[in-house]
Structure formats: C-alpha cells, structure tokens
C-alpha cells in the first residue's frame, strides 16, 4: 500500500467518521445544559458521607475506586514494559559505542544554573508533597503530586552530575517505591474485604472535614498512588537516561 492509496483510504474513512461524529454530536445536549443525575448525586453525597471536599478525588479513590486501581496498574505495567524494552537495548549498545561518547559530551551546567536548580529542588518537592496531601481537599492528588515529585527528582539530574542523580535516586529504591505504591491499592482492597466489608469499601473513620487525614481510606490510597506514580515516572526517565549515564561513568 503506497502513500496515495493510503491517503485516499483515509479520506474515505475520515468522511464516514466525520459523518458519524456529526450525527452523534448533533444529538448531544447543547453545552452547559447537562442534567445527568449521576454527577449531581455524587456532588450531593461526598461532603456529608465522606467528609471530603474534592468531589473528583472522592470519585477517583472511593466511589469509582476500582477504575483507579486499573489505571494505576496500567501505569505500573507500562513502566515495567518500557524498562524492559529499553534496558535490553542499552545493555548491548553501550559496550560498542562507549568510545564515541566523549565527543558528544553535554556541556556541564553553569554554576548559576546549578544554584538555581538546587534552589528549585526543595520547593518542587515540597509542592509535590503538598499536592499529594491535600488531594481530598483541593484540586490535586496522588497522580499530579507524584509527577511533580518525579520532576523534582529530575531537577537533581538537570543541575548535577549524572552520578549525583544516581546517588540521590538509587535504582533499587525507585523500584521498591513503584512496587510498594502499586501494591498498596489492592492491599487496601483486600484488607477491607478481610475486615468484612466490600472490596475497597471505605471502612476507616472519616476524620474531621477539611483535615489532611479526612476521608478514611482515601488518603492511604492517595499516598500509595503518589508513591507509585513518582517511582514509575522517575524509573522511565532513568531508563531513558541510562545510556548517557553509563557512558559518562566510563
């Protein structure tokens, strides 16, 4: 199949698809008129029944918590898969190409940049932790906070030596973080099951509204997800960087 036929095929397919979309979207209620009962019921019950002020977090980690379990494992598996695919490769290529590495060396970051990076690292990490902890109160949560934490770890890499990065974030620790984070979610589910509730039923005391520990199992799961996401994203970045990393050390 050459480019032209493919383009023609696409044009035909796209026309059909556009037609389907047009029909479908014409039938949708106009923007802003949504009156579905599901969301409104959720909105009405999260504060009184869960002492949680962020309805989105409540949906994610409690009401539809099982979706998030699946989602978290998608992340987990993808990271595993990416690590698997990339690691094999760097094992082979590094040996052959190590001698070329010197002339491609990245310029060392300037002192100013390094200082700025160091200054930024701590606030980034703090901000990440803040976002995680307040997940059930204000926008944010384990996922967003986890990525911010991972980017904090990355800052260490940007400003420092690669060796520093490795020292700051040892591989084994990242692996453990990822696995423990991933394990927390089903563990909570099984624990609630063992305690006589339904899978992922929120059976812990709900705590005071607006406090960091409110929401029963939500903060636990939230922290687990944060750990998993932070570990996962850092791991992916590490594998992508690994080639460079090893060349530099030789």
């Amino acid at each position: 199949m050459n480019r032209k036929t493919r383009l023609a095929l696409f044009a035909a397919g796209a026309a059909v698809l556009a037609g389907v979309f047009a029909i479908a979207f014409a039938g949708l209620p106009p923007l802003g008129n949504y009156r579905g009962p599901y969301g409104q019921m959720v909105n009405a019950l999260v504060v009184p029944e869960r002492n949680v002020t962020d309805a989105v977090t409540a949906v994610n980690f409690d009401i539809r918590g099982f979706d998030t379990l699946g989602e978290e494992f998608i992340l987990f598996i993808s990271v595993m898969g990416a690590a698997l695919l990339l690691r094999r490769q760097s094992d082979e290529s590094d040996r052959e190409h190590a001698d070329h590495a010197d002339d491609r060396e990245v310029a060392a970051p300037s002192d100013a940049m390094r200082a700025a990076g160091m200054l930024l690292t701590a606030p980034t990490l703090l901000f990440g932790i803040y976002i995680v902890l307040h997940g059930q109160l204000t926008p944010g949560g384990g996922f967003q906070g986890g990525v911010i934490l991972a980017s904090g770890a990355l800052l260490v890499y940007l400003v420092g030596e690669f060796g520093n990065f490795r020292a700051a974030v040892p591989r084994a620790v990242v692996h453990a973080m990822e696995a423990i984070g991933a394990g927390v979610y089903p563990a909570v589910g099984l624990a609630t099951l063992a305690a006589g509730g339904a899978f992922l039923q929120n059976i812990l005391p709900l705590g005071a509204r607006g406090s960091i520990l409110s929401g029963g199992t939500i903060p636990i799961i939230n922290a687990g997800v944060a750990l998993e996401v932070c570990g996962g994203i850092t791991l992916v970045l590490i594998v992508y960087l690994e080639e460079t990393l090893e060349q530099k050390e030789e």
Binding site: P29, D67, F76, I180
Partner: protein, 321 residues
C-alpha cells in the same frame, strides 16, 4: 440481567478476587524482583494463578442461578442510579475468566521451559495481563470495561515485544500497539456519547434508559464507535491486519493467550455491549448476532490455526529439550 441494579442480594465476596489476586501478586513480584530467585517467583506466580482459577471456578458455579452483581466499595445504587462500579458475573463471563486463568497457568508452565531468560518481569506482566482479562470479562460498568481493556492492551504490548532480540517482534508489537490504541479511543468516544445521553456508566442502567425510548441517531453512532473499537481488538476482518503481526511474533506462551482469549474477549465485549445495552433499543438482533458469532468463530479458528502451525515445531522442540 434485568435485575442488575436491584442487586442487594448477598453476593459471594469472591467476585473481586480474580482481579485483586493477580494484580497484588504482580506488584509483590516486581518489588522483590532483585531478591527472589527465579524459581521462587515462578512458583509464587503459579500459586496466584491457581488461586485465581479457583475463584473463577467458584464464581462460575455461583453464577449458574443468574447474574451476580457485586458493588465495589459497597455503594449500593440509590433511586435507581448506580454510583459505584459493579461486577456483573454471568456464566459466560465467569467461564471466560476461568479459561483465561487456565491458559495463563499453561502459559506460565510453558514459558518456564521455552525461555532461557524468562525473568520475574515476565511473570509480572503475565499476571497483570491475566488480572486485566478477568476484570474485563466480569465487569458490569462500561468505563471500567475501557480501563481493563487498556490494562490488558498495555500488558499485551509489553509481552508482544518481550523477545527484543529479533527485529520482527518489536515492529509487530508497535503496529499492534498503535492500532489497538486507536481502537480504544473509538470506544472511549462512544462511551462519552452514551454517558452524555443517558447519564450513566452502569451497563444495566444504560440499557434501562435506552429501552424506554426509540433509538436515536446518537445511540446508533455510539454503538457503531464502541463496537468497531472492540472489533479492532477482536481483529475482525476489516481490522485484522495487526493480528498476523502481533500473534506470530509473540513468544509462544503469550501467543497462546493472545489467540486463545484476547481476541475472543474483544468479541465478547462487542457482544456483551450489544446484548446488555443496545439489544432492547436496536431491534434487528438476530442478523447482527449471527454476523458477530460467525465472524468470531472464523477469526478464532484462523488465529489459533495460524499460531499453531507457526509455532508447532518450536514448541515440540522446547518440550523435548
């Protein structure tokens, strides 16, 4: 199936286990990867798979009397509106889950002989794959269906590209990944449309809403999108081009799972979505049913045959060695 959302009946607490056991074991294995010897991790994985199989058989047994409904987090529906995700366990779904775990066990045992370098990571991926397929077969929630579809796919991409020494698998896995991802987003657009129209994600509830009214163009469009998305996964004829790539290149134990179940699951999803949601509102059931079943049988046969002939020799050799 009509009683899906009035299901306050005492349902076996087994229902979430076919998903929870493989997933938590996968996480544990990944965490202890550097500590555990390969043999030990193999036995742990096998034990988890066997436990899953036992749960599935139990579910199959329990679901003979009718569809079992399990509400996650014990969120019972209120005023007829389903709040949480439910598992709707019917004999077909439970049977598929049983088949999945059986094949996963076979694949695991087989893999321990087939690969020289089968590591813990392989077991992790396989367990997650298995858990996702069980969840996919059992769920009664349409967005949850999508989530497990994606989890299943992610594990499948990684498994298809597992043998990275050869060039062919990687390319096959890539084609497989791209095609399936596009398919998944067809499904998601369809789900979005359905949610906009009915305000529900629970399949039984959607069906009740749709039954009460004549089929609108929107519903038909959503149906088309969802079903064509799942048919990409099932590799039904217009979408079959990824199949040869992925299946013939995947390592044999994985191939077993791919052609044995995953394709059927795509088909099952299409059929399930049709029967539990659209059957009432889109009338022409028998023709469509015949079409889906016929195409499905043909595809399954072709896929299994292809896989078998391709790998037969290698398989025999592996066992003899």
């Amino acid at each position: 199936m009509n009683c899906e959302s009035c299901g306050t009946d005492d349902v076996t607490p087994m229902a979430p286990l076919p998903v929870a056991i493989p997933l938590i074991t996968a996480a544990i294995l990944a965490g202890l990867r550097s500590v555990l010897p390969r043999r030990v991790s193999f036995w742990i994985a096998l034990a988890a798979a066997a436990a899953t199989l036992a749960c599935c058989v139990d579910l199959l047994h329990a679901s003979r009397g009718g569809t079992l409904v399990y509400w996650f987090g014990n969120w019972q529906p209120r005023h007829g509106v389903a709040l949480a995700i439910s598992f709707a366990v019917d004999p077909i779904g439970a049977g598929l889950a049983t088949l999945v775990s059986l094949l996963a066990i076979t694949g695991m045992i087989f893999a321990s002989r087939y690969f020289d370098t089968v590591g813990t990571l392989f077991h992790t991926l396989l367990l997650a794959f298995m858990g996702a397929m069980c969840g996919f077969a059992l769920t009664g929630d349409i967005f949850n269906l999508f989530v497990f579809f994606e989890l299943m796919s992610a594990a499948a991409y990684a498994l298809a590209g597992y043998k990275t020494e050869d060039p062919a698998p990687v390319q096959g896995a890539l084609n497989f990944a791209i095609t399936n991802t596009i398919g998944a987003y067809f499904v998601l657009v369809g789900i979005g449309l359905i949610y906009a129209h009915t305000g529900a994600l629970n399949m039984a509830q959607i069906a009740r809403t749709l039954d009460a009214e004549p089929a609108s163009p929107l519903v038909i469009a959503a149906f088309t999108l969802i079903v064509s998305g799942f048919l990409v996964k099932a590799a039904i004829v217009p979408f079959h081009y990824w199949l040869a790539d992925a299946h013939t290149v995947a390592p044999t134990p994985v191939c077993l799972l791919f052609s044995g179940v995953m394709v059927e699951l795509g088909l099952y999803a299409a059929a399930r979505v049709y029967w539990s949601i659209f059957a009432g509102t889109l009338g022409h059931a028998s023709a469509l049913r015949a079409m889906i079943v016929g195409a499905g049988c043909a595809t399954a046969l072709v896929g299994a045959g292809m896989c078998w002939s391709e790998r037969n020799l290698k398989r025999l050799l592996a066992f003899l060695r």
